[in-house]
């Protein structure tokens, strides 16, 4: 069991390192001119050379990536135009357009995105699994048909349209905006409520259908019949025996789906004006702010890998047959 978790952690770390090298290669060795962009329109050749030197752009690629990795571990300094900018470990580079270390920018944006994704997940998991389980129990009735029909309608609306509709019409919801959880959990929650409902309700449609299918299969299993033959209540049969089995495939889907949720957060952040990773990287993209882009990709991959790791480990607790492996 411990060995299994250790293996999963190691493979997760290697995934992150591969992503780091690959994205470094893509961004910093691309035929763009990062120093020129940083330098701006009124650039002098000296200043350009200065910037290039500070970004190690003249060094061979292997040294560049070495310096970058060293920065992650021990931090580094950037000097341009005579000023020296401190970039403490873990240093992911320095954004000249925003005049801040990338780590600091990401550190501010990450909690926003995670709040959106996880809060939304709570909404769609609870709503989806409950509705799906109820629909599975009344399979074939008009209530079941109504549930399946509405999930189809919700799923056929493009996500950004749905998000816009929520933003425009759900004016009774508290204004959205990000307030750190540590300041006041209540304002944190109320500022995110609209985003959560939007993420939650659109995805609940899919999760209702997964759960319904999974529960129909689970409720048809022999062990559910055995459970009924014991004389326990129908509710206990469904929610203890059926749901326990029906939930496992849903958790698996959830693990895979989290990656897409992270991407989806870009829309949600823009529409609800939440300063998360999506907004940060979108802006960086518009301004060729390569260090920020690079950091965004990296942190995105770390978040993804960690989330998948958590789901994998949760899975071993859900299914005792995996535990021995």
């Amino acid at each position: 069991m411990l060995l299994y978790i250790l293996k999963r952690v190691l493979s997760a770390i290697s995934v992150v390192i591969v992503t780091l090298v690959a994205s470094f290669a893509l961004f910093f060795l691309a035929p763009t001119d990062p120093a020129g962009v940083i330098c701006g329109p009124r650039c002098t050749p000296e200043r350009l050379a200065d910037i290039e030197a500070s970004l190690d752009l003249n060094e061979p690629p292997i040294n560049q990536i070495g310096a970058y990795m060293k920065g992650i571990v021990v931090g580094r300094e950037y000097s341009s135009g005579g000023t020296v900018r401190e970039c403490a470990a873990p240093c992911l580079g320095y954004s000249y357009t925003l005049g801040q270390p990338v780590t600091k920018l990401l550190g501010a944006a990450l909690p926003v995105t995670i709040s959106i994704v996880l809060g939304g997940a709570v909404v769609y998991l609870v709503v989806g699994i409950l509705t799906g389980t109820i629909a599975a129990q009344v399979r074939g009735t008009s209530l079941d048909k109504l549930v399946v029909g509405s999930t189809l309608v919700v799923q056929s609306i493009p996500y950004f349209v749905f998000a816009l509709l929520v933003a425009l019409y759900a004016t009774f919801l508290p204004d959205s905006g990000y307030h750190p959880f540590t300041d006041n959990p209540l304002t944190w929650a109320s500022g995110l409520l609209a985003a959560w409902l939007c993420v939650g309700l659109t995805n609940a449609a899919a999760y209702t259908r997964y759960s319904r299918a999974s529960m129909i299969e689970a409720l048809g299993q022999d062990f559910v019949r055995t459970a009924s033959s014991k004389g326990i209540s129908r509710r206990r049969v469904v929610y203890r025996h059926g749901l326990r089995a029906g939930l496992t495939p849903v958790v698996t889907i959830f693990g895979i789906d989290l990656a897409f949720q992270l991407t989806g957060a870009i829309f949600t952040e823009s529409i609800f004006n939440l300063p998360g990773l999506g907004q940060l990287t979108l802006r960086a993209f518009g301004q060729y702010d390569l260090p920020v882009l690079m950091g965004g990709v990296l942190i995105g991959s770390v978040v993804l890998v960690v989330m998948n790791l958590v789901v994998d480990i949760a899975y071993t607790f859900l299914d005792p047959r995996v535990r021995l492996g």
């Binding site: 022999d222 062990f223 055995t226 033959s229 014991k230 004389g231 326990i232 209540s233 299914d319 047959r321």
Partner: protein
């Protein structure tokens, strides 16, 4: 047809096995009907099934696949979803009527007075709960005891069904058990509340031969200890001979022959039962060609009129007129032996069996 039941008393030597006073029926099924309305039409899975089982006796139910063995037993356990199955007739267990019992009452009945063992212990145990947890749940559903007490009971039961080291096994998951051990655990779970009625639906089919024999022994031993009425469903006539007191042969959702084991296996009276005997391979000597019953079981959407077996029956020409195709025979004593009944128009079936069928048997 009553004239056909009056036979010359040529079987005087046999003692009619009418249930004695101490053999009052514990389970009594009368004219049971189970139907499933489906998109293709009404599936008549069980029609007009009647039988009874006293305490301390084992009734084997045999019949081809689809003859309604499981569906009728699920009805006895009150396991059918009322939205899916239509049930009529009467099922009395210990004097209580099961058909139309309220859901609440059914909960107290299932797993308490009556318990069931299923065919495949692999799929019938929940893969995510420990064996002990599953046995304790059954016990606590009917006894208001602490978890600790329930666990002691589970360990005790595991020991009684012959699982070595029950104290350690109780915390293991089904996948850590072998097939035979899983079935033992299922049996422990079924018997945890001392049920007076035990239904075993092909409990050994999924197991290999040596394990099968052990499980059969276990069930008969436990029955002796617990004194319950047992309904044992099987395809295997060898198993029947070993474990049962009585046999009920089912065809197309109804009983076509019923009586004590030695009689029915030794001298069956129904052409379908003859076919069953011919279709079992001889246990000793050279392998012989099997004689499967020609034709296939009827569709339950359109059960044949008259005798449901008539499309496959080689003896229907012996019956006068078109009785076989128009009139469903009653389940009645066909010879002087009142302890056994069968559902066939054929006259003097015992003589036909002795002169024509017996010589062909392997």
């Amino acid at each position: 047809m009553s004239d056909q039941s009056i036979q010359a008393p040529h079987t005087v030597s046999r003692v009619p096995r009418t249930p004695a006073a101490n053999e009052e029926a514990y389970l009594e099924v009368s004219d049971l009907q189970v139907q499933f309305p489906t998109a293709d039409g009404l599936v008549r899975a069980v029609q007009g099934l009647s039988y009874s089982v006293p305490l301390r006796r084992t009734l084997a139910i045999v019949g081809e696949s689809g003859s309604g063995k499981s569906v009728s037993s699920m009805a006895v356990m009150g396991l059918h979803d009322r939205r899916v199955a239509r049930i009529a007739g009467s099922i009395k267990v210990g004097g209580r009527e099961i058909v139309n019992m309220s859901d609440k009452e059914l909960e107290g009945y299932r797993g308490g007075d009556a318990a069931m063992i299923f065919q495949d212990p692999q799929s019938s145990l929940h893969p995510y709960f420990t064996i002990g947890d599953q046995i304790m749940e059954s016990y606590r559903a009917h006894n208001n005891v602490s978890k600790r007490k329930a666990k002691d009971r589970a360990i005790d039961m595991l020991g009684r069904v012959g699982i070595p080291n029950p104290r350690r096994r109780v915390d293991q998951y089904p996948h850590e058990f072998s097939g035979g051990m899983r079935q033992r655990a299922m049996i422990a779970m079924a018997l945890v509340n001392d049920p007076k009625l035990l239904i075993a639906d092909e409990p050994t089919t999924a197991l290999d031969v040596t394990v099968q024999a052990q499980i059969l022994d276990l069930i008969s031993d436990l029955q002796r200890d617990f004194g319950s009425a047992v309904v044992f469903i099987t395809h295997d006539l060898g198993v029947v001979a070993e474990i049962a007191d009585d046999i009920l042969v089912m065809y197309a959702g109804t009983a076509i022959e019923h009586g004590p084991v030695n009689k029915i296996l030794g001298e069956p009276l129904h052409p379908y039962a003859w076919g069953l005997l011919e279709s079992i391979p001889a246990l000793t000597g050279e392998p012989q060609p099997l004689h499967p019953i020609p034709g296939s079981p009827p569709s339950l959407l359109a059960v044949p009129t008259g005798c449901p077996f008539h499309p496959r029956c080689e003896f229907k020409d012996r019956v006068g007129g078109d009785l076989c195709t128009t009139l469903k025979p009653d389940l009645i004593p066909r010879t002087g032996d009142l302890g056994r009944t069968s559902r066939c128009h054929l006259k003097e079936p015992d003589k036909v069996f002795e002169t024509e069928v017996l010589p062909r048997l392997p």
